[in-house]
Amino acid sequence: MSVDTSNETAAPPPDDDTHAGEYVLGVLDELARRRAQNRIRSDAGFARLVGDWERRFAPWLLRAAPAAPSPRVWQEIRDRLGWRGRDTARDGLWNNVAFWRAAAGLALVAGIAVVAFDRARTPPATTASEQAERPVTVLARGDGTPGWIARIDATRGEVLMMPIPAAVDPSGLVNELWIIPVGGKPQSLGLLSHEKAQTIAVPDALRASFAAGATLAVTLEERAGIPHAAPSSQPIAVGSIRTI
């Protein structure tokens, strides 16, 4: 510390407003910055002064030339927030042929056991002859247990979905039903209840997708934005349509 500057370095501390300006300008060293940041958190009046300076310098702030970030940045933000890997799922499991073969096999095995279960609980309003006309598809969960039973009414363009009671997903996400045509991409059929039987009207554009070999799948999704353009995560239950 040289002698000729000692008088000025000992200058009195600035008033709050000027100090807020110093902080926004960025001239404070590491320790002084941390003190100012603590004060922003604890002192609403000081935080407002800082906000005012940020607004004053905004034209300079926004002058920086934009630069597109690499795709990894968004993926890592999602990971750090503990979200499911939307893009990973899209590129991975959904397009993985081996997974779908295995899932279809599972559904077949679960189907044999569950059709009997379903018959035992036939809704009283449905006659035996009506039942025979409507094929049943079981949507099996990853562990092989049935998640939903789908009864497809091709004439009316409806799918009756009956859930098998199971633990609710704790994340607050909801079930979304998808139809995956043979060789096609998943198309949303909308929100699916996990506790009540529900008749879902199939949009005209998707009716042709309900054919033998197509797949019904359920994913956990955000309620906002349903029907989504594409699933964000791996299916929790899948079933293959064998006959219509």
């Binding site: 600035p14 001239v27 060293d29 934009p66």
Partner: protein, 187 residues
Amino acid sequence: MELRQQDVTEPENELLSRVAGGDRDAFERLYQATASRLLGICLRLVPDRGEAEDILQDVYVAAWRKAPQFDPLRSSATVWLGSIARHRAIDRLRASSAQIDQAPIALAETQPDPAPAPAHQAEADSERARLDDCIGRLEPRRRTLIRTAFFDGATYEELATRSGSPLGSVKSWIRRGLQQLRACLEG
């Protein structure tokens, strides 16, 4: 372009309000609308791209958590997000001494104010024009120091070294400059 960013009705405000309510789709759209601009702000202070992208991640993780604190009556979403980005980048500068800019600063009494780039002039909005006007009214020494501090993220100590001026003088020039600037902008 700058005009839209300053507009209080900018779509980013609406998105940020929805993010405050936990809307992840809105957050993704907000990211898409603002990430390039925010990376630009980080790169201005931390030129290493990998490091700047790490800061950008911190910025959006913080933005998701702090979104409920955003007050659309006092700020715009782009300024709010841009300020988080700038402060995170400065924090990173302070934590690593490797990146300190040593370029000397000339503090001539009569140094002319550098003219804004033509592209900026063409799209200058009233806020930008006012800031440039008020900066232009400052004594050249104060003006140069405040500019260098803002665009290089330099500390008082670095500014004193780079300009060859006593630390106390640099502090008092900048503080008086800030007070004049506020009086001009609020006047």
